[in-house]
Symmetry: C2
Subunit: 595 residues, 2 copies
């Protein structure tokens, strides 16, 4: 195999077109086998095999610097830059992350997992090169789906202003994660249909030079195009037409499903890991589909990740114009929701915790200053969510609760979630976000009758004494486990509280606890710093109440073992019970000293 | 005067072209007189007088809904929608805010002060209209300067997808706050020069219909254009060429200086409020200009607000290619800084607290995960900063300190700031942000020798006992005032601590205080919730230390009196001293009870 001989880009340059073409087939086969066993981003990488070979043939990495947007197309690049073993041999599959990573290789410049960043980051590399009066090419590789993101469009606009060498490779497979949404895709289509000759050209309108490559999976054509722009003195776009999932029939035919995959059977394409239980995606979709049928003013919004809310293609069709995919454009998703709510509609925007970060200003300005009653459902905001450093869901509590006016709810069960969701959709007083629990969905069948419009009223689930456990969202269960253990060990039954709201403090309830409680324990699924528990600690600052905050240390965890991280952060019932015992001993000691 | 007869859009419709033209002159005169006495956004409003009259002549507001981007061009709209008195009569000048505001009028739909939001918000209004099967026009009015912002470009892209009626009026005065930056402005220029006929057209490339109005200050031409698109069934852009500052010679000639103004002398145009003292803008500019001359890898970045760092046009020229204005594109500014730092440059990005909010994800993903040594200087992050609800600078501590890896420093004096800035520029270990103090700049002449690379090491300024006062940034001075008062009232001299870092806790120092201190007071210039002080409260949660957190309640303050807000939040030395005495009484009482 040719690929086995590739230890770096210098080995790619030794091959001729025929050999490179043969190597492309080998790489695709290796990607296929690895994906079937290991899962990962699939379609985007399959389309970029030839372009990656051609780039490494033409350019001189790492002197010439390639920046991959969102890294979804970086696997072929990793294979050609000293990391082939991680794709060829099962025992090495975990040697690499799913994203570019400077710690892995001098051929990677950023750790990237969010979309639409490559052009602006590449502008930075190019600017530093120019300041230092060095030379070399800087290349941003961006998929068509990522182009709709605000940062990408800002970057394209700024690139012309930057001047100097910058090559922007637009990998156009005519797909985002799902189908593309947005007017610019009409222009990409026009450009594809006119072999890049149409006068009306988004990239030229942004002030950029432009080259079109119709055969974006043909190595010779790609090499010719890259050679024509190498050492360009101006920013130039190389628009290449590729086929997402190329080389694997199921993926070519169902591009959305094969954007990313779990391990699967190579012959049938069927996933090896079937979940048959109901999850929060199903529950959300079922609720919304029903609600939308009953009420034409209810509308579901996604920013290019419709399946997080369970809206597969058939369900999107069923929802019709009441389902909106804005494409990768989270800022617009929030503004749109605010506008819909301002005009009497009932919008529900479902989004991953990791991506709600992209809308901090829109949440503050467009939504909360205007106090419009939009609903945001935050998925995977949990230590049990995605574990890649680029996709952590641990910042949403500090982030969202720093915004005035935003009600942030943390249900602990399916029933609470549905009650909160329905309340939020129907009320007209507040912008509301709901943090879904991580780990497996808990359903206890209990009817929820609470009036959520009485903000920040926590619920006492079990009245005890001395110790109160306030467990938010995911960690409510951990709180009850710890309470049970404390009772077992000390005979004292703690009070158990479900706060329901993480954006505010129930002053009345907390004041009441001062009478017959000495210790309050808080638990939250996210970073402790700036989070829920520290608000409780601040509230009790001038009192004798001891407060123990449990949550995660502020840190960029990466591809972690969830149980290890929980243990490191004292997030087991045993550790919490031990901490409480230690405090009680200290307290009784200091009482004696005083006495 | 015609304008005196206008109580709503229905009165505009009674006028003929000649009368409307006369009214435009009256409105401009009123705007000029008001601005000379009151200050406010100037240039953008002057250019939009005729277009606003024409819109209210053609459309049926409020059934037809007009959304003004960033509100900088909304004063003529306010004059025509029942709020003329606030522009005609000095005693009513303060009846209106500088921004659109639904609380003021049914003709306003959002409270908006940040740029680039109008198209996405208008899409929301339009979508709700369509869901409810209503009719009516939705009109977004956006200046050319705002177009470079990510949310605006996302919105343009999504608008075509939305379908249905949406009219986007692009007010093209060929200026942002300063000159425009970005490749798309070449296209606007081409369109202006070809009377809108050029085939390459950014708006058409985004999938939108397009109409050009060369005479954007001619009421008849504008009426014709708006009538041609009224009730359009598709999203359409009306690109109008206007003159920023039209009708006031000094403003036409110096558009940047007259974007916004303080009260000024009508004849000379000279500001009536001259500040002669040095401020943090001057200090920043002087440092950076010197540093950039010494080191060609240092580069200063702004996102369309160069003067916040003191970089007026002449100073920008002096800095040459080491000064970058990315235009209104904060996301790209942060990504660019990260890229420059990744490639060995030394970037400093200066930005208002209110606008750093627009980059939460870029700070997290593009910058901090990659741990690149960029420097961000945060201006006006203070209760003493801008007091409009849309421009508050109170969220930066909770927001920035929720991001792992970001070092957030809070200097208290000019000398500390310069030492921090120079350390940050030269170090290569961390992304660093520096929160400038509000109120007047304090300069004590003291040399700062601290090694800032030892993170989270607070400084004990004065060793006392029993009570420790930790005053961050702006409020360090308030802390020392309170300490002096406490000493005066009780004879106990508190320990005074300057934390310097607001993104971390000095555990060693805080543990040490347990020995001989009972009370720790924290002060911070921003929202308490999720901020600095609550981290200290959380740290001491399991100990006997009493912690009093001072800062601002999480709330959307608007056009406030700073002293009133400080008082409401117990942020005076007297109130703090009182709180401490109350605590001490409670503590001694409980000691007696225990005893």
């Amino acid at each position: 195999m040719y690929i086995e001989q590739i230890n770096g880009p210098e080995d790619v340059k030794k091959l001729n077109i025929e050999e490179m073409t043969a190597m492309a087939a080998e790489m695709r086969q290796a990607l296929l086998v690895r994906a079937s066993k290991h899962g990962g981003h699939f379609g985007p990488n399959f389309g970029m095999v030839e372009a990656t070979i051609a780039m490494h043939y033409v350019f001189e990495s790492p002197k010439d610097k390639i920046v991959y947007d969102v890294s979804h197309q970086s696997y072929p690049h990793k294979m050609l830059t000293g990391r082939k073993d991680a794709y060829l041999y099962e025992e090495h599959y975990d040697d690499v992350s799913g994203y570019t990573n400077p710690k892995e290789s001098e051929h990677d410049f950023f750790e990237i997992g969010h979309t639409s960043t490559s052009v602006s980051l590449a502008c930075g590399l190019a600017k530093a090169r120019d300041l230092k009066k060095e030379d070399g090419n800087v290349i941003a590789v961006i998929g068509d789906g990522s182009l709709s993101g605000g940062e990408a469009l800002e970057g394209l606009d700024y690139a012309a202003e930057l001047g100097g060498n910058l090559i922007i490779v637009v990998n156009d497979n005519d797909m985002s994660i799902a189908e593309n949404h947005g007017g610019l895709y009409q222009n990409l289509k026009l450009l594809r249909e006119t072999n890049g000759q149409a006068e009306c050209n988004l990239f030229r309108a942004m002030g950029l030079e432009y080259v079109y490559v119709d055969k974006g999976n043909d190595i010779a054509a790609l090499i010719a195009a890259f050679e024509s722009v190498k050492d360009s003195k101006k920013p130039v776009v190389v628009h290449i037409k590729t086929l997402k999932g190329k080389g694997y029939a199921p993926a070519e035919q169902n591009k959305e499903q094969w954007h990313w995959c779990m391990p699967f059977d190579l012959e049938t394409g069927k996933s090896l890991m079937e979940f048959d239980g109901e999850d929060y995606s199903d529950v959300t979709r079922d609720y919304l589909l029903k609600k939308m049928k009953e009420d034409p003013s209810v509308v579901t919004i996604t920013s290019a990740t419709p399946t997080v809310m369970g809206f597969t293609e058939d369900k999107r069709k069923e929802a019709g114009s009441q389902f909106i995919d804005v494409g990768i454009a989270e800022e617009t998703a929030v503004a749109l929701a605010s506008g819909i709510a301002a005009n009497g509609g009932k919008p529900v925007y479902g989004v991953y915790s990791s991506f709600i970060q992209r809308t901090y200003d829109q949440l503050t300005q467009d939504l909360c200053i205007n106090n419009n009653p939009a609903t945001i459902v935050v998925f995977a905001g949990s230590v049990y969510g995605m574990s890649d450093v680029t996709h952590l869901g641990l910042q949403d509590i500090p982030m969202l609760t720093s915004i005035p006016g935003l009600v942030y709810l943390a249900p602990t069960t399916k029933e609470e979630y549905l009650a909160m969701l329905d309340w939020s959709v129907e009320q007209t007083e507040h912008p509301v976000a709901i943090k879904l629990p991580g780990a497996a969905m808990v359903s206890d069948g209990k009817a929820v009758t609470k009036d959520f419009s009485q903000l920040n009223k926590y619920e006492v689930i079990k009245k005890g004494s001395k110790i109160a456990v306030i467990g938010a969202g995911t960690f409510y269960q951990l709180g009850t486990d710890a309470a049970a253990l404390i009772e077992e060990q000390t005979g004292v039954a703690p009070t158990i509280i479900n706060p329901l709201y993480v954006s505010g403090v129930d002053e009345e309830l907390l004041n009441g606890l001062k009478k017959d409680h000495d210790i309050v324990i808080t638990l939250e699924d996210g970073y402790l710093e700036g989070g829920f528990g520290q608000r409780i600690a601040g509230f009790y600052g001038d009192s004798d109440m001891k407060v123990l905050n449990y949550g995660l240390k502020k840190f960029f965890y990466d591809r972690y073992d969830v149980n290890e991280v929980l243990k490191e952060n004292h997030l087991t019932a045993e550790q919490i019970a031990e901490d409480v015992q230690r405090i009680e001993i200290t307290m009784s000691y200091s009482m004696e000293t005083v006495g």
